[in-house]
């Protein structure tokens, strides 16, 4: 029977994420008239359940800053002040705003609302250098979010043949379809927490996507979910390749060390192919320059997926490049080699908001891997130094099912936002968005076009 892909959300509250951007303060001028409670649609103001004649304290963290209570209070008894605790969240990349947004999305599974409007800035570092362009002139908009037109968010992992050389012996390469262009990392901060691993894996299983699981975190407890696991292992540590998890997982990912010998890699690839011929093989890279000997592996069809790793803030580990710039380089490289369809590109690192997913796809990724954002969904505050025993969100003690539902909520909210963008662009399949740089403007390019000839005599600016 035909069934549309659908994510089931349900609100999950966490006591540790109830930190609002502003604090609403009710002073003793309040007359308990209840006007704020009739006006507030976010349940910030309510009458005291024990004594409905009085107002209870405002639940500040639910406030979306619409100012309606403050403007309409007949006594001007309400005021809004910045919340110090909010301002101390996160770091320069994982800003309080980003963390707060993820918390909201994970709690409700809905697209968050900001009442007081966006006051800029209109560009910034990282992904904020990209503006997506939804001009309807190119294509009429689609109705995705309300489901009257179906927009596909599924992507394929694996190679596609550029052409069919021989119709007599069609030997299609193996590939997997995942329902959302997002893979999940089971242990983004290498905390080795069993409850977190289990929660993320269960979420991925329900969502119809894959997780990346480090081999040392594997235990028999995870066996029921094997079909959703991409097993990740540094190249030197591969043992028992003919035994249980290796033989059953759909994807195997090899992490290359800084220095490696191609022959070593080739022998391992051979070994995996013999023991587990249907597995997709992914190469995890931290370097955005692609040496010729590696490119050869892709060309010969030995490797299916290129998995690029940036750090939590989207910066490359080697050299100075932001994740979307690195991905653009890979994309261009493969396009030039006429082999873009024979490789799947996945980017990881610094994906902190819903709009980062389509932005990275526009730059050439087929899918992205979510890491720290998943922990944030569970209450993580992206502290500068992470110590599990002092975790303000007590992440180690989180119930896996609660955590799982929050991840599902987050992904649903992000997928809905992806649908919004796709429908505004008039695109009905996220696969069509890959590499569509025409649907985005890059600040550095615009700056160059506009000012180069003035300031630099036609020479590129440094």
């Amino acid at each position: 029977m035909y069934e549309r892909y659908h994510i089931e959300t349900s609100p999950v509250k966490l006591p540790t994420t109830q930190i609002g951007k502003f604090e609403i303060i009710r002073n003793d001028q309040c007359l308990n008239c209840g006007r704020c409670s009739t006006l507030c649609i976010y349940d910030v103001h309510k009458r005291d359940p024990n004594d409905p004649r009085k107002m209870s304290e405002p639940v500040s963290y639910l406030c979306k800053n619409c100012f309606s209570c403050i403007q309409n209070c007949p006594q001007q008894a309400l005021e809004m002040v910045p919340n110090k605790e909010y301002e101390s969240l996160g770091n320069t990349y994982w800003t309080p705003h980003i963390i707060h947004t993820i918390w909201n999305e994970a709690e409700e599974g809905k697209i968050p609302v900001y009442g007081a409007g966006y006051r800029g800035p209109f560009r910034g570092a990282g992904f904020d250098n990209i503006w997506t362009d939804m001009s309807e002139i190119i294509r009429p908009t689609r109705d995705g979010i309300h489901g009257r037109e179906y927009i596909a968010t599924a992507v394929d992992l694996g190679r596609k043949l550029p052409w069919i050389p021989d119709y007599e012996k069609i030997n299609l390469p193996n590939s997997y379809e995942i329902q959302i262009p997002m893979l999940l990392d089971t242990d983004p901060l290498k905390l080795k927490l069993k409850n977190i691993t289990l929660a993320i894996l269960k979420a991925a299983y329900e969502l119809g996507t894959f997780v990346l699981l480090d081999i040392e975190n594997y235990s028999d407890e995870l066996k029921p979910y094997l079909k959703s696991i991409a097993l990740r292992c540094p190249i030197g540590k591969i043992t028992d390749i003919d035994s249980s998890p290796w033989k059953e997982v759909p994807v195997v990912e090899l992490i290359l060390p800084k220095r490696f010998h191609v022959s070593e890699l080739e022998s391992i690839l051979e070994k995996i192919k013999t023991y587990h011929p249907t597995a997709l093989i992914s190469l995890g890279l931290v370097d955005y320059s692609l040496p010729e000997e590696l490119l050869k592996q892709f060309r010969h069809g030995r490797v299916d997926i290129l998995h690029y790793y940036a750090d939590n803030q989207g910066q490359s580990f080697e050299g100075n490049s932001f994740i979307y710039q690195s991905i653009r380089k890979f994309q261009l490289n493969f396009v030039k080699q006429h082999m873009r369809n024979e490789i799947t590109i996945i980017g990881k690192g610094g994906i902190a908001a819903a709009e980062h997913v389509p932005k990275l796809i526009i730059c050439g990724a087929d899918a992205v891997e979510l890491d720290l954002s998943l922990l944030v969904a569970m209450g993580c505050r992206a502290c500068k130094t992470c110590k599990v025993e002092y975790c303000p969100a007590a992440i180690g003690e989180l119930d896996p099912d609660t955590a799982k539902q929050r991840i599902i909520n987050l992904i649903c909210a992000w997928r809905d936002q992806l649908l919004e963008i796709l429908s505004a662009m008039g695109i009905r399949d996220v696969r069509r968005l890959r590499g569509e740089v025409g649907r985005a403007m890059f600040y550095e390019e615009i700056e160059k076009e506009s000012f180069d000839f003035i300031f630099n005599d036609g020479e590129p600016l440094k």
Binding site: Q29, L31, N32, C33, G34, R35, T38, R47, D51, P52, R53, K54, C73, P74, Q75, Q76
Partner: protein, 602 residues
Amino acid sequence: MKMIIDSSLEVKLYTKEPVELPGVIKKRFSRAQSIYQPESTHDLQWMYSYAQKNKLSVVPRGAATSNMGSIIPLRKSMIADLTHLKRILDFDKKDKTIIFEAGLRWWELKHFLKKYSHDLYTYPTSLFSTVGGWLSTGGYGINSFKYGHISNFIDSIEVVTPDKTSIIGRSDRKFKYFIGTEGQMGIINRVKLKVRESKLSKSFLIYFKMTSQAVEFLSDILKSLKPPPVHISYFDRHRLEHKNLLLNGKVSFPQSEGVLMTFESSSSKNELLKLVERKKGIVAEDYLSSFLWNERYFPFSVKKFYPSILGCEAILPLEKLDHYITMTRKFGDSHDIPLSTEATLINEKEAVVFTIFPSDSENIIYILHLFLTYSLNNIAMRCGGKPYGIGIWNLPLLKKRFSDKKLKEYRQFKKEQDPLNLINPAKSFSKNYEIKYLLRCAYAMSTLFSNGISLLKPFSKILSPDLSTIKKGISETESCANCGACTLVCPSHLMNSNEIVTAKGKLFILKQLLENNPLPKSIAQKAFQCLHCHLCEYVCQSKLTLTPVWEKLESLLEKKFGRPEDKIERFIKQVESHPAYTQLFDSFGICSNNKNKDLQNV
């Protein structure tokens, strides 16, 4: 809606006044049966026919702020609570007239006009009294010096008598019979009032060492200052001392007599300062004069510090003011009673004087104190004064107010208007020998005190009130002045139209509870219909701290009667969906935002 309240407790509440008559008199003579709240002319007519059928009389009542027992029925009566006749019917900006129902409160009227940047000419200090009520009892107040009696600004009134409803213009022969006659001739239903555009005003308070200096200064001002002030009040040193209780201690009024003047133009300022210098006066700081000007709305604000306040109010010739104050001081000193006096000039020759002293209604001495008010009245009469209001208490002074000929004329008119003697019977214009003679006796006895008969001297010190209570602080139940300000702003009163749910009523309930008087559950539980909005606290004329009292009252009631959760819930739902409720808070919001501007008008 024809709302009738007839439980004895609530009726008792509705006949409460700021200054209570002696319990003996109230118990012996008060014949209130029920409360009726008319909302239209038709209701008033229905009320008359109902009263006639049931052999009742009708006693009109505004906000019950006039004292003197004017609303105490002396025959079996229903009390007409006229505060629900409060619609504003028409405002003509061009003509500068406004037509409204007479149960409207001055506070509401002033607010309404403010929206159109208009203001009143003369208005009472008790802004929470009704327009009709003030027309029937007082009439002299703020700005009276320049503009005189309120009746100067009445264009016409509509009066409902048992057999007809008629409109009477100011020039009409009959007009005077309805002003200041306590509703004995008919109930004023509608009023057409002249108003003016609002003007900025500025107040000056001038201190003098001696009363004589202040009075001399006043007469100089009357002679030479052009343009004259709109309002002039005199505060004696004890009155200013009283007001110090309300200040935070860092600033205070000095030990001197004060003259407060308010001007609506700045042109006479230099002349005034010259005059002050010549008379050796000192101009007070701006904030103190503004504070005192603002205090005009709170004549009973010191009530907070004493269990009760008693006093007398009379119209006095200005030239006798100095003499009156010397006499009262002497009288006060000899009986060890701290008297304080305030006088408001109503024209160039007369002033309304208002002399008060603290007392304790719980103490047996209170009755004797009540007779002291007669003594004070007697002093005022000997200085050539006449009583300001009559009610029941001042019945012995009736002849000072009305000459025999006039009295006859008024009585004749009353007979024409109300042949069955239905409206407010047995008061000044009807015959009622019993109470009249009783009070006359009391008055005659009291005059002995004021005449300084030496025989009484040894006993006089007994009368001195025990002022140690100031330090102890007195309970809110005792300090409520029953002024009814809270009834206007109470959202619960808006729903229930019953004063038992307002601050006034709840303090009454608390008092019954503390004194172990019988209290039916149905009435007691009405106290829970409260939003804890503290609006009553904002407008309280005695400036009481009421919120903690409600907590206490509710916990006491909960112990005794339980908490009516379902009723509370229904109340909240009802109140929140009521359109007048939104209006109430909006109008109050405007008030609180511009609180300073509104009250100081600087």
